[in-house]
Symmetry: C2
Subunit: 247 residues, 2 copies
């Protein structure tokens, strides 16, 4: 299921064309390109990192959806976050011999692969890129904080509203929302595992929100019928969107 693809030059990176990312100097882009060992394409449901792995590679998700998760020894699973194009993967696996998380794709995906032994070079020769990596890490933490707030203190209905609006906004920023809606590759089990709910209760809550006219979902295409009501439900505040770094 994994193939090497022809390596896309970073200067022509399709992500940079979206305008969602901050600009880099030519020298920085050259460095990233040099650091990029290869590019892989995988199918839906592929493991990128396994729990307990000590793989020494870093990734940028170039296209597709994925998620980070961890399971308890009896199989209970918690999804920490969903990953969208531009997200950086694998830092935690480098820093520590910790029991880290797993990463699995939800759709066909392509990833840029970076050997971690060049990470130090990156900090040394291009401090601005080092800064960017810190930014990405801190940003990932903000999202996990937000999820923790949901799971700890929001009701099932509020959690689902929060997840939908949050994913929708992130995807929108990347230009992934098409006229007929946003292609959502999650099934209800993923939603349940991200929100700390059971599958059955997730199903019933989804139906209730749907019946209340807050969203439509046809053939995996999500549309928010009443984003304002959804945001109110979730106690969500839209944030000013600024370009974010891309490695």
């Amino acid at each position: 299921m994994t193939h090497m693809s022809p390596k896309i030059p970073c200067k022509q990176c399709p992500l940079r064309a979206t305008g969602a990312f901050s600009a880099n100097t030519d020298s920085e882009i050259e460095f990233i390109e040099h650091m990029k060992k290869r590019e892989i394409s995988v199918g839906a449901g592929s493991s990128i990192l396994r729990e307990g792995d000590d793989r020494k590679e870093l990734f940028t998700l170039l296209s597709g959806w994925a998620f980070r998760y961890r399971t308890l020894s009896d199989g209970r699973r918690q999804i920490f976050n969903f990953l969208l194009p531009g997200d950086f993967i694998g830092l935690q696996h480098q820093l520590d011999a910790r029991h880290p998380h797993g990463v699995e794709t939800l759709t066909e995906s392509t990833l840029c692969v970076f050997p971690s032994d060049r990470l130090w070079d990156l900090y040394r020769t291009h401090p601005a890129l080092g800064f960017d990596i810190t930014w990405l890490t801190a940003n990932e933490e903000l999202i996990v904080d937000e999820n923790l707030l949901s799971v700890g203190r929001r009701s099932a209905t509020e959690r689902i509203a929060m997840l939908m609006i949050h994913l929708y906004k992130r995807a929108e920023r990347l230009g992934m929302v098409e006229p007929d809606g946003l292609r959502l590759p999650l099934n209800q089990q993923h939603i349940a595992d991200a929100l700390g709910l059971s599958l059955v209760h997730t199903n019933k809550t989804l139906k209730r929100l749907n019946a209340a006219g807050l969203y439509t979902l046809k053939d995996g295409r999500l549309k928010l019928v009443n984003p304002a009501a959804m945001a109110r439900l979730a106690d969500y505040y839209a944030l000013p969107l600024r370009p974010r770094p891309l490695i």
Copy 2:
């Protein structure tokens, strides 16, 4: 409640003497010392960062306990993590004009204060320190991940076991565990808010764990009577302890 204290030279930093932190070069320590604008001492229950603040300062907790939290508009509060000496505070507040979290002390504390406008200098002139900041950020994220797993997928009993063992190990590493136990400055409301539980249920669950002989708590001194049983309950695995960076 806030005073400036005589600035402790970083070379004689009491935290570095614990052996829990990785060594730095003289030049790095000098830089940190130069960047450290001042040192503040605050009482228990002081706000270091408020939600919504856009304060442009960074902190290292030098002594004492604190916690990071966020509240929903109707007052429900989620504690993301407890902060111990050596923890770095305030990065998220720099990166984004986001609704970030608040930080509040649990005990009298002292903090090193760094102006954030020298952060870029740090990356530029001492890339190893930049790397360290990324490490600290990624580490903080690991802890939040772990908390999210607890709140999402563990039972009340398991969550409390996890919190106790986790805090105990972190404090132990810093040499904060004394013969009569670990001084725990949390009340049951803090525990409830960290674990996504109600106060009443937290109380009952604590009593049950106590009656089961898993821990004792007298005058705020925590002792784990049966750490192995506690770890089994929480599905917790001890990790190899390696020195961690200190800024």
